[in-house]
Subunit: 271 residues, 2 copies
């Protein structure tokens, strides 16, 4: 997908697992999708009015590591090439509704609100969950999957490049990695730039402006063992920070960690 | 640049060569820039009115192999992060002016026309010249550099994914490669997706709708030796095909092969 000529197709079993996960979510599953339908690409989402779409698309273009766009759905389109039978109005477990930078509601079905807002354009954005399969395949455990909680995410002090009316800081996800495996983790994730790529920082949370590693801004805290170092990757929740900071009049996003599961295997994003 | 964390800096000699080439162009050099300031990134260009910028940016997002965007300059901005002292109004050797899909003029200095059109937003797009250094470093000769002419480019029958009001076919560049070196050429260029990446086709021009390989639609024909196969890459002239097919009211582009030379080394785009 990344460079368009590698058409990596999911197995029938993988597609069935993805579809089953979407049906489960559509039926009411309301938790983080971390670890669900292992090996299948999960995506972040943000919908903004057409009037804001150029600024957002340019913001994403200028900040590809935190906002790698995998698909754009035009107004009143709710189906993505990434998952033929998915409906973006129902197939995220949980949505956030934003007005002027404030979260005004959290909902589990967004159908009514998309009907009321036909002006929305939707962006689907790569998620670092996609490289977790590759890390696990290399024998590097993922703490938040082991412990069955959402990944910890933090609002960093790294300013993204602004675009038009949109600006904001980078949100980062954190995984504790055993010190002796960090070099491998960098090399593996560097091969997947469409899903956030290599870490943006290793080992010094304070220099990212993170003062309490045990109190993430989004998601749940992860245990950090004595032989581990916190490793930080750019995160697809970054657009939500931009919504807040830029006071975009109206937007819908997914709730952090509550993703859409697509029919594309994670390994399709491997360079 | 591609994944933002690899900051590869040009040597002082390379920056001087790039600057000297720009000054030469600004002073009137009016030929293809193929082979100029070897090792430094050259870029394609298109300027469209702000009203068309979202459609174009989405077109590029949906067709990254032919339209990899390296920088976007907002209205009345003429300087790029890719080359601090460059001016996009004067530093391409030759420009094309488009009205309603027809080329109405070719000029060597676009300052007056940018002044008359303050509504223009400018996109700088990766160029396959950037992987030629890597091919040459591997001992794979580049025919159009050897023979000192412009690269041959063809309008293919491959439809790009449309976006809003913009549609068009992919333009491809062709390099004859010795049959025994093609596998290496694919592997080398696949590592550079921001500058068109791997070939989109090898060996059968007819299936791309190309009936006369010796009469390219843009640039100059290349000799093809008996032991060589024509290899095709997506080309940054693709937006010009979209301008024509979509009858965009007004646009400025570079003339094919007449590129802006930046301060970024080609190897900065290597994954």
């Amino acid at each position: 997908m990344h460079n368009q000529q590698q058409r990596i197709i999911a197995s029938a079993a993988q597609r069935e697992a993805a579809q089953a996960a979407r049906l489960k979510i559509r039926a009411g599953f309301d938790r983080s999708t971390a670890g669900l339908a292992a090996g299948m690409t999960q995506v972040n989402m943000i919908s903004v009015a057409k009037d804001w779409a150029y600024d957002f698309l340019l913001y994403a273009q200028r900040n590809p590591q935190s906002c790698p766009i995998l698909d754009v759905l035009e107004q009143q389109h709710y189906h993505s090439i990434l998952a033929a039978d998915a409906d973006i109005r129902t197939d995220f477990p949980r949505y956030r509704v934003w007005q002027h930078g404030e979260m005004v509601d959290e909902i589990t079905d967004a159908t009514a609100i998309y009907t009321a807002h036909p002006e929305l354009v939707t962006f689907l954005i790569g998620c670092s969950f996609s490289f977790e399969t590759a890390l696990q395949d290399a024998g590097i455990p993922i703490r938040h999957i082991e412990d069955q909680h959402n990944v910890p995410m933090y609002l960093s002090n790294i300013a993204c490049r602004p675009a038009g009316r949109i600006s904001g800081n980078m949100v980062v996800s954190m995984r504790p990695i055993a010190a002796e495996r960090i070099s491998e983790a960098v090399q593996i994730t560097a091969k997947m730039p469409s899903v956030h790529g290599a870490p943006i920082h290793i080992g010094h949370p304070e220099s990212l402006g993170i003062t309490a590693i045990d109190r993430p801004d989004f998601g749940d805290a992860s245990r950090i063992a004595a032989d581990e170092i916190p490793v930080f990757w750019a995160c697809g929740v970054t657009p939500q920070a931009a919504i807040m900071q830029s006071k975009i009049p109206f937007a819908i996003s997914h709730a952090p960690g509550h993703m859409l599961i697509t029919d594309i295997p994670d390994r399709a994003w491997m360079n």
